[in-house]
Symmetry: C2
């Protein structure tokens, strides 16, 4: 059976869970405690040498990692991957931007607060500045469009919402970002996220 | 005409150039000096609010950013995007890993040496450690396989080779990584990189 090795508090892992649930896939979830080295054991590194969750094992035993790659794998052929070539390219643009310019700040600030127990003043100011810049960029993009890539919800919305909806846990204030807040509500509704 | 805004010393920009050249696409290259704020002007930010190169403008005036998204857009339907669903998923895995676990260390160390003029001892040790770990992971992956995703060269090889072949400029020593060195030569040959 399809197996997901994940940390239920991780946005990257939750993305995968939401997509599998939405598509009605049967899978087993193996909760993996990254704080106690659960993703650094020899067995885990044999599955994913990067030592990161989520990592999945397909029915045939082959493994796959990187949350956005996993989303794309399962969403291929569904309405959540746009057919239009430009919309698909924009979806990819947002997915790469998420991992390069959003997650390393918004998710890492949250990690430092939630997992490491740091106080607001102990989180590096650079993480907060760049995280706010990422959220501001989302706010501007969503002032024109309801969804990030094309006229309907896609994998890009699911991937971006994962840490955006939890940004307050990293000390980010979403109250001045009404477009982002309305978009979060839309994405949660469409993808059945509670 | 297709226009590429890029910095010719940037691996992320060179990736795009190589792919367009390989596919025989007609394009105009606008050299963009990121050090003097060329990617932060109002005109540039209107094209790409992330303020990053490469950014392209398609024939119809629509814009696209993120090097790996651009590669995927042009490579779709060519042999460089695997048809097999698992091979394609692995290609995506490597592309996201490149932007999350390789580029932020290997390329950033190079940036600090080459663009900012830092000496070896001035580059953060963390960048060097994580960059070496990324290169070691590539070495291990290439001990079993000739190409990163499936049995033939893909966008993943092109994306990963961009900064790996320039890693020495960031102070990384590739001499203990024979599989990586042989793979670089193979990728350069296949994609016509000189």
């Amino acid at each position: 059976m399809l197996t997901v090795f994940g940390d239920i508090r991780s946005g990257n892992c939750l993305k995968v869970k939401w997509m599998l649930d939405l598509l009605g896939k049967d899978y087993s979830w193996v909760e993996t405690d990254i704080m106690s080295g659960g993703s650094r054991t020899a067995d885990f590194l044999a599955m994913n040498p990067a030592g990161q969750v989520p990592t999945i094992v397909l029915d045939d035993g082959r493994t796959l990692a990187q949350s956005n790659a996993i989303l794309l794998h399962f969403a291929e052929g569904t309405p959540y991957v746009p057919e239009d070539a430009y919309d698909r390219a924009r979806m990819f643009e947002w997915l790469f931007w998420e991992q390069y310019s959003h997650e390393p700040y918004v998710a890492v600030a949250r990690f430092q607060r939630l997992y490491l127990g740091k106080t607001a003043s102990e989180v590096e100011p650079r993480l907060m500045e760049r995280g706010r810049a990422a959220l501001d960029r989302l706010e501007a993009a969503l002032s024109e469009d309801e969804w990030l890539a094309g006229a309907s919800p896609s994998v890009a919305d699911l991937a971006l919402v994962a840490y955006t909806r939890l940004a307050h846990e990293g000390g980010f204030d979403l109250s001045p970002l009404p477009n982002v807040r309305r978009w979060i509500a839309r994405v949660e509704t469409v993808f059945g996220i509670s």
